[in-house]
């Protein structure tokens, strides 16, 4: 029982820090609340889908920005827009915030600004991926020790 309590404590603290540091917002909590016996792996599944999606969109943006003949900012913007939608839906606050700035640079057709944002969004995405993997690992450990995942408000 002690091991479970310790792990749960760790989970709660880690979750709180992710919220405090802006990696996750309330939308992520909403998704955790949706998880139930019918879909016990819902959050992990959505997160995996999001990361897959993220990588694809980032590649699209990089390709479009590389075009020497002239960047199609509409194309870049379309990918950024989609990333803004999915990141906000999953609660990935920092990724979403970069997307907002990114869109302004697309509108202004500012290639340098776009490239900077692309770097930032790639960075934020890797950070988030690592942090969520740590969170999910903690979850697994709790379940393996026979405990239940606490819901962090």
């Amino acid at each position: 029982m002690d091991v479970v309590n310790q792990l749960q404590r760790q989970f709660i603290d880690y979750s709180a820090s992710l919220h405090r540091e802006g990696f996750l917002d309330d939308q992520f909590t909403q998704l955790q609340k949706l998880q139930d016996d019918n879909s016990p792996d819902f959050v992990v599944e959505v997160a995996s889908l999001f990361f897959e999606d993220c990588e694809k969109l980032i590649n699209n943006m990089a390709r479009a920005l590389e075009q020497q003949q002239g960047v199609d900012f509409k194309q870049v913007d379309a990918s950024v827009h989609q990333l803004k939608g999915s990141s906000s839906s999953i609660g990935a606050m920092r990724v979403k915030d970069v997307c907002i700035a990114f869109r302004s640079f697309c509108e202004a057709q500012n290639r340098e600004g776009c490239l900077r944002c692309l770097q930032q969004v790639t960075h934020e995405y890797s950070l988030l991926k690592n942090k969520l993997q740590t969170l999910f690992r903690l979850q697994q450990q709790i379940l393996a020790a026979g405990g239940s995942i606490p819901v962090v408000e």
Partner: protein, 158 residues
């Protein structure tokens, strides 16, 4: 395109007829959700199922249109993302408006006044901004009831 309801088959959605809504109201509301973003589509599906709605999901507007045409009276409401490659939400809305009598809710990560205005003038019964919360989806049945009530009134008048 994926179909997801309790029985895991498309036929239930259409053969059961109109959503009566009396007993388990508003459970069983038959929703078609369209979004080319797989993450959002998965989240919508889960939220709508949690509301006890019958959910069918599509990742393309064209597919959604064929599903609607193939299953006339098989759905109560359509929820569609605005920005999709090929056919966008506005075009889908125009088609649905001219061919069927279904309430359509548009969703987008875009919140500019102009685009919301566009949605409303095109005939969307609501325009939601991502991220959508489950509380919002719990209320969409109102659009179905409102439309039915309005249609009934028109029938009585004429």
């Amino acid at each position: 395109m994926n179909s997801s309801n309790g029985n895991g088959s498309m036929s239930t959605a259409s053969s059961s007829g109109a959503w009566d809504g009396r007993d388990q109201f508003p459970a069983g509301l038959r929703v078609l959700v369209v979004d080319d973003d797989p993450t959002c589509l998965m989240i919508f599906e889960k939220m709508l199922k949690t509301c006890l709605y019958q959910v069918t999901k599509c990742n393309k507007a064209e597919t959604a249109l064929s599903v609607l045409r193939e299953h006339k009276n098989g759905f109560d409401i359509v929820i569609s993302d605005v920005h999709m490659p090929d056919m966008d939400g506005f075009e889908l809305l125009k088609h649905i408006d001219s061919e069927m009598d279904l309430p359509v809710i548009l969703i987008s990560a875009d919140a500019t006044k102009q685009i919301v205005m566009k949605g409303v003038t095109y005939g969307a019964c609501d325009y939601l901004i991502k991220p959508v919360r489950i509380e919002t989806l719990k209320n969409i049945w109102q659009h179905v009831v409102r439309k039915k009530a309005r249609n009934t009134l028109l029938e009585i008048k004429y």
